[in-house]
Structures are given as C-alpha cells and as structure tokens.
C-alpha cells in the first residue's frame, strides 16, 4: 500500500495561491492520486484526481511529476472558506486490493 506524507499544517493569507505537497514514494503503477477536503463536522469532499502530469478543474489543480513519487495540490487565490483539512490518497481504481488510507491530512488555515 502506498503511504503518503503531507505537512501537518499550513497558513496562508486570503488571495494567495496555496500549494500542498504530498509524498508517495512507493506509488504503484495502477495507483491514482486523489485529494479530499474536509470541513469541521462534515464528511470529506472530493476535490480532484489524477494519474500523471497536470489536472485542472474549477476549484484546484493537481501537478504530478514524471516519477509520480509526489504530487502538489494547488489552490488559486484562497479565501477564508478554504480553511479545512486536505487529504492526499493514493490507490488503484480496480479490484479488491484497493485500500485507501487518508492519513492525518494537512490543516490549512486562511486568514485576512
């Protein structure tokens, strides 16, 4: 199982771009990288998923280098409402072998 390592916490000012990096040195060939966001008293919410290079959607971008041993979630121009815990997950998309581990996540605090 691919283990992930993320910073425990990050601070940012409103309007800045935030980049959260996740290390997954033993990622397997079939593994995808997925990021979730969790607010207090809510379940996690899917943000973005990718396999390689760059993926972008309306809320974030995901950068994955060629060796896929790390990935970076990029949040453009964060606002106070982006204060949350962000989890990086690595796992395959098929078969019963998949077992996703959320880890402790990165607690992002956005201030004025």
């Amino acid at each position: 199982l691919a283990k992930t390592t993320q910073p425990i916490s990050m601070d940012s000012y409103e309007g800045q771009e935030v980049n959260i990096t996740c290390s997954h040195n033993n990622i397997a060939t079939n593994d995808y990288i997925t990021w979730y966001q969790q607010f207090p008293s809510q379940g996690p919410r899917f943000i973005i998923q990718g396999y390689k290079t760059k993926v972008t959607n309306e809320v974030a971008s995901l950068f994955i280098p060629a060796d896929r041993k790390s990935s970076t979630l990029s949040l453009p121009r964060v606002s106070l409402s982006d204060t949350a815990v962000y989890y990086c997950l690595v796992g395959d998309r098929t078969g019963t072998a998949s077992k996703l581990t959320f880890g402790t996540g990165t607690r992002l605090q956005v201030t004025l």
Binding site: D31, G43, P44, Q49, V85, G91, R93, G95, K99, F102
Partner: protein, 115 residues
C-alpha cells in the same frame, strides 16, 4: 440529487451498551464504505461493500462490530458492546464506480460518545 444520508447525527451512550448507525447511499451507487474518524485523524476504513457483499472488512473489529447491507442499498453498522475507545465519528460514503480509488461521496457522519 440527495446526498448520503446518515442517522442519527449524534449518539451518546454508556459503555457496554449497543449502538447502531444507519446509512442510505446515493441512489444507484453500488459501493458503500464505513469509516471511523478519531479526533484529529483522517478517516479509517472499516468495511467496504460492493452491492450486498462485504469485499473488504479486514479493518472491522469483528468481536464487537458488525455490519450489513441487505438488498444492496442502505446499510447498518452496529457496535455491541460499546467501549470508551469507540468514541469517534462514523462516516458512511458511497461511490458509483465500484471498487477502488474513485470519487467517494461522504455523509455528514454520526458522532458517537461513549461514557
């Protein structure tokens, strides 16, 4: 579209009492997950269902925890008897794509406090 529904939202019980949590996944989602989340930690997978079959229950403490998903729709997670260490948030999630690292839709969770 309705999201994943869980009930109750909060539950307070004394140790050694039984407790049950209910989850109704998003309509059409055949994969259902139960997670436990301790304070300050990420969710920990307890069991995963594909339709009515439990395909991954290796993390479920089977001496006191049980789960069922009759008819492959809603699901119940039970603890009997509860212990102090079971205090946590129990999250249910569902996915339309089957097993694996696909987008999961989470419910709001049930916060259990064992006294």
């Amino acid at each position: 579209e309705a999201g994943v529904v869980q009930s109750p939202r909060y539950k307070i019980i004394e140790k050694k009492q039984p407790v049950a949590f209910w989850c109704n996944p998003i309509s059409g989602h055949n994969t259902l997950y139960w997670y436990r989340q301790n304070l300050g930690q990420g969710p920990e997978l307890l069991i995963r269902y594909e339709n009515e079959e439990a395909v991954d229950d290796s993390q479920l403490p089977k001496d006191r925890f049980s789960a069922e998903r009759l008819k492959g729709v809603d699901s119940t997670l039970k603890i009997q008897p509860a212990e102090l260490g079971d205090s946590a948030v129990y999250l249910c999630a569902s996915s339309p794509f089957g097993a694996g690292n696909n987008e999961q839709f989470f419910g709001p969770g049930t916060r259990l406090t064992v006294l």
